[in-house]
Subunit: 206 residues, 2 copies
Amino acid sequence: MKKSPEVSNAVIARLPKYYSLLISLREKGMKKISSTQIAECLGYSPSQVRQDFSCFGEFGQHGYGYDIDNLIKNLAHLLDLDRNHNMVIIGAGKLGQAIAHHQLYKKNNIHVKALFDIKEGIKSPDCPVYTMDKLGSFIKENDIDVAMIATDADSCQKIIDDLYALGIRKVLNFVEIDVITPPGMTVLNINVMEGLYILFFKSLMK
Amino acid sequence: MKKSPEVSNAVIARLPKYYSLLISLREKGMKKISSTQIAECLGYSPSQVRQDFSCFGEFGQHGYGYDIDNLIKNLAHLLDLDRNHNMVIIGAGKLGQAIAHHQLYKKNNIHVKALFDIKEGIKSPDCPVYTMDKLGSFIKENDIDVAMIATDADSCQKIIDDLYALGIRKVLNFVEIDVITPPGMTVLNINVMEGLYILFFKSLMK
DNA sequence: TAGATTGTTAATCGATTAACAATC
DNA sequence: TAGATTGTTAATCGATTAACAATC
């Protein structure tokens, strides 16, 4: 399901902002919204909002604006949020257990099915923990399509390659090393130290 | 210590990449490097590397390239990494405890001095945990300049305002809500759900 | 119909790349 | 000196903003 030729990273980075905003406005009971209102909430320009949406289709009505429900449906489809995602977490230490419980998973149809660790006997509340040798069969039997990695640096690349071999194509990686992404796989890195660097730099600039 | 008029976010986002790369090359024993080599490692263009550095000064030598040690010193200074940082973590649940232990803090002169939580009696390995009422005096007495927040959504804004009142100006926030940043404070948000959204979208585009 | 707001084209702005003089 | 590579200026490319016809 390839999208219109190329969507710039700048646009991609804004999509989650639009989506989160609209969800929270809908929760407050709003039914319609204009590009100007969206722009105000997010600090963008109204043109940019319309330009961004126009990468994907025509979601509004001339002279009216956007029906929030409809816009959310369209964005949810773009972000692949209009279906279930079953997830495993590799690494059942404190970080793995922490990211296994996220208040927003349920709202987004994301289900953490299990954690995996090389160590035996780890327990985590509300979620089974298995040893790594069970990973292959578990992925097959539970229709897993996405994984998070929260192991140590040494095992990370091997785990990515193993997940790839097992058919996983979406990985959110919390391990702060440079990994080689197999072709066709999408790996997104969450990098805390990089965040600190940027925080320090921006703070110094003020 | 205000930097040259305005450094674009695009440049800022690349600074940690340069820094991390150079640190790892130095560990491998490399002494010098050219803009072309840096560009190859990071997937940038050589012009961009030189253009980026030129925002801050002249770090290289004509006809030679960059002395890695010297370049690291310059970047470390830009990123405020050439001095100690003392940090507290607010929220001593699994996430707070996980982010309290990060292999790279030591290398970067970042010291996690304590965790704080509303609950009493929480223990964390290698790091004291105090109740919130001790926060003010602890920050004063331990020369704390940076905080991470890993609490629940409800208390996050109040904690930011409290930290501000206590003189903290650098915050890395793991709580996924929109916060109001007091003027002069720098808050950087780590947002896992946004990461998942972008992961899903990019994966769908392939 | 008049008013409002979209979707899109054109104009502007900023970031990246190319080119090259300076120089080690 | 000849070769290499920087720092910087100019050219190009892409993203944002402005303008406006289309239309609900």
